[in-house]
């Protein structure tokens, strides 16, 4: 009954070689998030989609892009990975409340990216 699925779980790429990480959800949530988590650090939000609206964090490098073709899927594209981009990438979803309160996020297991 996996709810937020990330593929692959482990990804190895070469310096400068584009890579795409994928996330899918079975929760029908309207918001999807991408986080970067480096070793011993808290997750750092890169961007999120509120429905089809893309919201980029101000300090997210241009090297990181995202696509959300439909409600269920969201992709993280790293155009030219550098050694500093090696990290765990987490996808999360939430249902943005209409009552003014916020709901919990459901996280995927993450994709560990290695850059050689």
């Amino acid at each position: 009954d996996a709810m937020v699925i990330q593929n692959p779980r482990y990804q190895v790429t070469q310096f400068g070689k584009p890579v795409t990480l994928s996330c899918s959800q079975t929760l029908n949530h309207n918001v999807m998030y991408w986080y970067q988590q480096k070793s011993s650090q808290a997750p750092k939000l890169l961007f999120h989609y509120y429905d089809k609206d893309f919201n980029n964090e101000a300090d997210t490098p241009d090297n990181f892009q995202s696509r959300r073709p439909n409600t269920s899927f969201c992709f993280l594209d790293i155009r030219s990975p550098g050694l500093g981009d090696a990290a765990m990438y987490l996808c999360a979803t939430s249902r943005e409340g209409t009552s003014g309160s916020y709901n919990e996020q459901f996280f995927g297991p993450g994709t560990r990216l290695t850059v050689l």
Partner: protein
């Protein structure tokens, strides 16, 4: 920015001892705060949200507006509570930033 601060990176307690993981927030208005937990080799998951005022796995957290805190407490720690704990503001807010996290180690 709606920020939360977790002053302790590591907290070690003995089994059966009380636990308090600190979280302070620094924004005005009525905050809605969450505690997330990450057990070893498991995904990040919700532990508590302040609005529900419930107890999960023996943990509680009370929002103290006077002290701008949302500390996580448990009267008797168990070894299975060893994990990474993150305090977080609600998603979708401007400059949404997780707390830096506190690693809890419960010693036998």
């Amino acid at each position: 920015a709606q920020r939360v601060t977790q002053p302790e990176k590591l907290l070690s307690v003995f089994k059966g001892a009380p636990v308090e993981l600190k979280c302070n927030y620094s924004y005005s208005g009525s905050p809605e705060l969450f505690w997330y937990v990450q057990y070893s080799r498991q995904r990040l998951q919700l532990l508590l949200r302040h609005i529900s005022r419930e107890s999960i796995k023996g943990f509680t957290a009370d929002l103290n507006k006077g002290e701008t805190s949302f500390h996580l407490k448990k009267p008797f720690a168990q070894e299975e509570d060893s994990a990474m704990y993150y305090c977080a503001p609600p998603p979708g807010t401007y400059k949404y930033i997780f707390g830096t996290g506190t690693r809890l180690k419960v010693l036998a």
